[in-house]
């Protein structure tokens, strides 16, 4: 299970890297989204996978999963939610102001 997830994380990271290196603004945004997904999955995997009980009182199970990675991921998801929203609005505004979403044309001129 861990190996499968590790491969999945690797795929997410490589796709994200590819997208971030493309020219289109919107694809770059998607790339950062996938990158944070990969990182969140990694945290989850690092806490240990396996069919243990939910870390809630009253379950009376023999062993519980580690709740900390879940708390960390929840926080990280909320943060990346906010970041992505901001970045999307910025992308949209950049597109409107510059009339292009091609990063090649958004390099800036040498005289400024």
């Amino acid at each position: 299970m861990e190996i499968l997830i590790a491969i999945l994380i690797g795929v997410l990271f490589s796709v994200a890297t590819y997208l971030i290196l493309t020219k289109s603004l919107f694809r770059v945004v998607l790339g950062t989204v996938l990158l944070s997904h990969g990182a969140h999955l990694l945290i989850l995997t690092m806490g240990g996978l396996g069919g243990k009980s939910a870390p809630l009182l009253g379950e009376e199970a023999a062993n519980y999963t580690d709740p900390l990675p879940q708390a960390l991921i929840l926080t990280a998801i909320v943060i990346s939610f906010g970041m992505t929203a901001l970045l999307l609005v910025m992308t949209y505004r950049t597109y409107k102001v510059h009339q292009t979403d091609d990063l090649d044309q958004l390099r800036g001129r040498s005289d400024e």
């Binding site: 950062t32 944070s36 960390l72 926080t75 970041m83 992308t91 102001v97």
Partner: protein
């Protein structure tokens, strides 16, 4: 336990929230923001004093009454409180400069709330004792910085901020990756507990890997070589008050995080990690100053100088002796103050001449002598001319490198010092000498003094840091001793 510790974080957060309600009334906003920035400074100084007076010189707070290492702790040691004071000083000064320069349209679009949220994030990052909490406060700081850097939304700002945001989001994702590996390896995220576990663990290979990812993350946020490329262009765009705050403060939070993690947690193999930091420092200094030398724009030269001076701070950590760390800490204090002052001077000259291009300015010394000489003092301080603050901090750094026989870094640091002086003189000669470009009748004395008034405290501070070098350096040595001996920190947090 001292709830006072939360005040540098809670006060700006509370004020920022209140200011959301008052967003359309910019006069009331200014009054509240001004008063609370002064209050924040007083709180910060009192906190530093309380920490200095306490028996271990560390105060901790277990938030929510969850005992460490399970809950989040806030830890105020001498290093953290010093940084909080510096951030409050720069925060207050840049705010008062913003009153004079920020357009009222910008004020209506939540400039002040985000300004205070930025200070919340910065102070939180300094005071937290939990590495995941550090991530959270970093993000609070960064998301406010994204808003402020793009605030106003000109085409240039949007274009360059996009790169800044993407760069930082990638670094944040790697921050999470590093945290995941660290948690899997050590099973804890409390910094004191991490310091203890890393020493016991003996897993050198994997810890080196984690340390390098952390170095990458903080290096990207603190503009270390080779991850500094985003900085000059993105700091050029926003108004001077914001550039000054960013230039003075934001990269230093990255440096603070590097110093904190590489003195408390990753001290298992200094010959590997700290040597890498030393070479990165050399690259940062050298290429940063070369960038500055090649520029002909006031703000851009200053932006490139941030990079080269981040190198000096990293150099102190790379040399890794008490004197070197003390030098680096002194340098951070000097740099935050002087760099913000210089950016504000750039803003003032921009307001007066309407440009930041050095070739289009000239003769400001004749028309605006006060501006010229105050700038001259700050520039000389940055270049490291005695008896100003830059000299003593650089002297300590170079002396420590000589003592540790790192002659390579000494050579780089001295060459960079000369080039810094050169580019500061370039600004002075182009902007302040030559024939005046402004006519006598256009000079508005009252406006100029309004612009200068917020900057004067910073210039006084840089002179003060120079003339009071003895007590301040003793304090820096105390800070260095404290962070180089983590047992004290670990005991204070874990209570053993």
């Amino acid at each position: 336990m001292s709830n006072f510790l939360t005040l540098p974080i809670l006060l700006p957060m509370f004020i920022g929230t209140i200011l959301i309600f008052l967003a359309k009334k910019h006069r009331i906003q200014r009054v509240i923001a001004g008063i609370s920035s002064i209050a924040l400074l007083i709180v910060a100084i009192y906190l530093a004093y309380a920490v200095y007076q306490s028996p271990d010189q560390i105060i901790t707070l277990e938030v929510g009454d969850w005992s460490a290492p399970f809950g989040i702790v806030l830890v105020a040691d001498m290093f953290a409180t010093m940084m909080v004071i510096l951030s409050s000083i720069v925060g207050a000064v840049c705010l008062f400069f913003a009153f004079k320069t920020i357009h009222s349209d910008r004020e209506k679009f939540y400039f002040y709330p985000f300004y205070f949220y930025l200070l919340t994030g910065v102070n939180g990052a300094f005071l937290t004792g939990d590495i995941f909490n550090l991530f959270v406060f970093f993000e609070v700081m960064l998301i406010s910085s994204y808003v402020l850097i793009v605030h106003g939304g000109t085409g240039y700002q949007l274009r360059e901020s996009f790169k800044y945001v993407v760069m930082n989001m990638v670094a944040s994702a790697f921050f999470l990756v590093a945290l995941a590996y660290l948690y899997a390896t050590t099973g804890t995220l409390n910094m004191a507990h991490l310091g203890e576990r890393v020493a016991e663990l003996g897993q050198e290979g994997i810890l080196n890997g984690v340390a390098i990812i952390f170095l990458f993350v903080f290096g990207a946020k603190g503009a270390l070589f080779p991850l500094y490329f985003w900085l000059p262009k993105s700091y050029y765009g926003p108004p001077a008050a914001i550039s000054a705050l960013f230039g003075g403060l934001l990269t230093k939070v990255g440096i603070y995080a590097i110093i904190r993690t590489f003195t408390l947690i990753f001290v298992h193999n200094p010959s590997f990690t700290h040597t890498i930091i030393l070479y990165l420092a050399a690259g940062t200094m050298f290429f940063g100053v070369l960038g500055a030398v090649s520029q002909f724009d006031f703000k851009r030269i200053l932006s490139f100088h941030i990079i080269s001076q981040v190198g000096y701070m990293a150099m102190g950590l790379g040399v890794f002796s008490p004197l070197a760390i003390a030098g680096a800490i002194y340098y951070i204090a000097h740099h935050i103050i002087v760099k913000s002052a210089l950016f504000l001077f750039a803003g003032a000259t921009e307001k007066i001449t309407g440009t930041t291009d050095l070739k289009k300015m000239g003769g400001l010394l004749k028309t605006h002598p006060w501006l010229g000489w105050l700038f001259f003092i700050s520039a000389m301080s940055l270049a490291g001319i005695p008896p100003l603050s830059g000299f003593f901090s650089k002297f300590a750094l170079i002396l420590s490198a000589v003592q540790e026989q790192e002659y390579f870094i000494v050579a780089v640091a001295l060459i960079v010092g000369v080039l810094t002086l050169f580019s500061m003189m370039k600004i002075f000669m182009y902007a302040f000498w030559r024939e005046p470009t402004i006519k006598e009748e256009d000079i508005n004395k009252k406006e100029m003094f309004g612009l200068l008034r917020p900057i004067i405290p910073l210039v006084v501070l840089t002179i003060g840091l120079g003339f009071l070098a003895e007590p301040i350096f003793t304090y820096s040595l105390g800070v260095a001793d404290q962070i180089l001996d983590p047992t004290n920190y670990i005991q204070a947090v874990l209570g053993k």
